[in-house]
Amino acid sequence: MSDLTAMLWKEAVELIGHRRVAIIFAIVVVIMGIFPALIMYHRQTIQAANSLIFFGLIYVLLGIVVVVGQTASDLVLHERVGHTLDYLLTTRLSAPAIFAAKILLSAAIGYLAALLVLLVQLAAVGLIGGMRFHWLFLGLGAGQVAAFGVTAALSLYVSVVGTFVALRVGEQRSAYLLSVVAVGLLLVPFILGWLHMSLTLGWISKAALVLGVIALALAAIGMRVFRRHMLVLYLQD
C-alpha cells in the first residue's frame, strides 16, 4: 500500500505542475459545461427528460474521454521521455503499484472533470440558457446513476485503455488517438442501446454496471500481464 501511496503522491504533485494537462482540463470543463446550455438557448427550450439525459450527458462522457485519454498517455509517456521510468525500474517499487497509480490518478482526474462539467452545465443552463434553475438529468434516478455511475466506470475504462496503449506506443499523439478509437469501439453498443431503448433507471444502471465490470476486468488483466520492463520501450525488443 505504501508503494501505491508513494506513486500516487508523486503523480499528483507532478500533475499539479503540468500546465498542458491543466489547460486541457479547464478547456474541457468549460466547453463541455457551457455548450449544452448554448444549444438550449438557441432552441429556447428544455427538452423532454429522456432527451436531456442524452443531450447533457454526452458532453460529460466526451469530456471524460478527452481528459482521461490525455492524462493517461501523458503519465506514461512523459516519464519515458525523461527517462524517469528507467529510474522507477531501479527502485524497489512493485510493478502493480506503478501501473495502478497511473490508472487511478487519471481515472480520478476524469471523474473530477465529469463532476465539474455537470456543475458547469447546471450553472450554465440557468445563466446562459436564460431559464430558471433546472436539475436537468440529475432530477431523475436514471440521470443520477448516469452522472455518478457511468462516468466513474467510463473514467476507469478510458484510464485502463489509455495506460495500456501508452505502454506500447512510444508517441503521445498516437497513443492518445489509439486510446480514443479503442474507447469509441467499446462505446458503440452502449450508444446503440441508448438510441434504441428508453433510458430507464434499469437500463442506465445495467449499462453503468457492465461498463464498470469491463473496466475492472481490464484493469485486473492489466495488473496480471503488466511487467516492469513494459515501462521502457527499448526493453521490449
Binding site: G17, H83, T84, D86, T90, T91, H229, L235
Partner: protein, 311 residues
C-alpha cells in the same frame, strides 16, 4: 560467495542477433570501489541493467549482494542505490520533491525522510536550489541530484553509470571524494561505470575493462599493465645493439632502441633486471640509468580497447 558484492558467471545478454554482453566472468569484493571501463556500446549499461533486474540474462548467472536480481529483484533494489546514465529526474518537481519521492519509495518515516533529504541536498551542494524546479538545472546539477537520490536510502551498494559526466573539475573532485568516503567510511560497495580513466585510477580499488560485451582485463588499476612483459628504460653508453649476442643477457630479454643512448629492454621476468644490468656491465657497457616502466591504466586501456572511442 561470502564477501563478494557482485558475482558474474558466464553472464550473457542478447538483443536479437547482437550480443550486448558475452560470457562475463568476474566478481567484485564488498566494500571497494569497482570501476567498469569501456567505450560507448561496450556493454556497461546493459550490465548495470542486468544487475538491477531491469533485464534478464540470456544465459549465465549473476548475484548482487548474494541475491539474484531477477528472482529477488525487490530485495536487491531495496539495497542498491542506482544512478543510470541519463539520471532520470522529474523535471516538473523541485530538487527537494525529487528526493522526497525517493525517500517515500524507501519507506523512510516522515522525520527521517526530511532529515535525509536535507542532509543529501547539503552534501551535494544543492541546498540553495532545493525549491527550484529541476527543469532549470544544468547537467552537472542533475548529476549531483541524481547522486543524492541514489544515496537517500543509505544503500549497501551504489551502482553509478557515469556519475561525473557533465561535471566541472571542482565537482568531479567533490564526487570523487564523496565516493571515496562512502566506500571507506561506511564500507559500502560502489560499482562505477566511467569513461574518465584518470578518475578511475584515483578512485577505484579494482577496475575491469570491457569491449564488445567481453571482459578484456581486470585488476588493480596500477597493476593492470603487469600482465604485459615487464620492461625497463635504460640509458647506456658504449652499446650499439649489435653486441647483444656477445652479452650474456637474461633469457627472453629483448633490447629496442628509443634514441641514441636510450633503450627499452623487455624482460621475460621482472626479477631479471639485476641480471640484465650485470650482463651489460660485464660486457663493458656503461649503464647510466635504469628506470622500470609502469604501464598506466590509460595506456593499458588504449592497448586493449584500441583507438576506437565507440563500438
Amino acid at each position: 560467495m561470502g564477501n563478494d558484492a557482485i558475482e558474474c558467471h558466464g553472464l550473457s545478454r542478447q538483443f536479437g542477433a547482437r550480443m550486448a554482453v558475452s560470457d562475463l566472468e568476474f566478481s567484485v569484493p564488498s566494500g571497494i570501489v569497482f570501476g567498469f571501463l569501456g567505450p560507448n556500446g561496450a556493454g556497461k549499461t546493459t550490465t548495470v541493467r542486468l544487475m538491477v533486474g531491469m533485464l534478464q540474462p540470456s544465459s549465465g548467472s549473476l548475484r548482487v549482494l548474494g541475491h539474484d536480481p531477477v528472482a529477488e529483484g525487490e530485495w536487491v533494489r531495496t539495497r542498491c542505490g542506482v544512478m543510470l546514465d541519463g539520471v532520470g529526474l522529474y523535471d516538473r518537481l523541485s530538487a527537494r520533491r525529487n528526493l522526497e519521492f525517493a525517500a517515500r519509495i524507501a519507506r523512510l518515516n516522515k522525520s527521517e525522510g526530511r532529515q535525509r533529504v536535507d542532509a543529501s541536498l547539503q552534501r551535494v551542494g544543492l541546498w540553495d536550489r532545493r525549491e527550484d524546479r529541476v527543469s532549470g538545472f544544468s547537467k552537472g546539477m542533475r548529476q549531483k541530484l541524481g547522486l543524492a537520490r541514489a544515496l537517500i536510502a543509505d544503500p549497501e551498494m551504489l551502482i553509478l553509470d557515469e556519475p561525473t559526466a557533465g561535471l566541472d573539475p571542482a565537482n568531479i573532485v567533490m564526487v570523487r571524494e564523496l565516493l571515496l568516503s562512502l566506500a571507506e567510511d561506511a564500507g559500502r560497495s560502489v560499482f562505477l561505470c566511467t569513461h574518465l580513466l584518470a578518475e578511475a585510477q584515483r578512485i577505484c580499488d579494482q577496475v575491469a575493462i570491457i569491449r564488445g560485451g567481453r571482459l578484456l582485463a581486470m585488476g588493480e588499476p596500477n597493476k593492470l599493465g603487469e600482465a604485459q612483459l615487464p620492461s625497463v628504460r635504460l640509458t647506456l653508453s658504449g652499446y650499439d645493439g649489435d653486441s647483444s649476442t656477445a652479452l650474456n643477457l637474461p633469457q627472453g630479454a629483448q633490447m629496442a632502441r628509443l634514441s641514441a643512448q636510450e633503450w627499452r629492454a623487455t624482460l621475460g621476468d621482472p626479477q631479471d633486471i639485476e641480471a640484465l644490468v650485470a650482463a651489460l656491465v660485464a660486457g663493458g657497457v656503461g649503464v647510466r640509468a635504469v628506470i622500470p616502466e609502469q604501464v598506466s591504466l590509460e595506456e593499458e586501456y588504449m592497448r586493449l580497447v584500441g583507438g576506437n572511442a565507440d563500438e
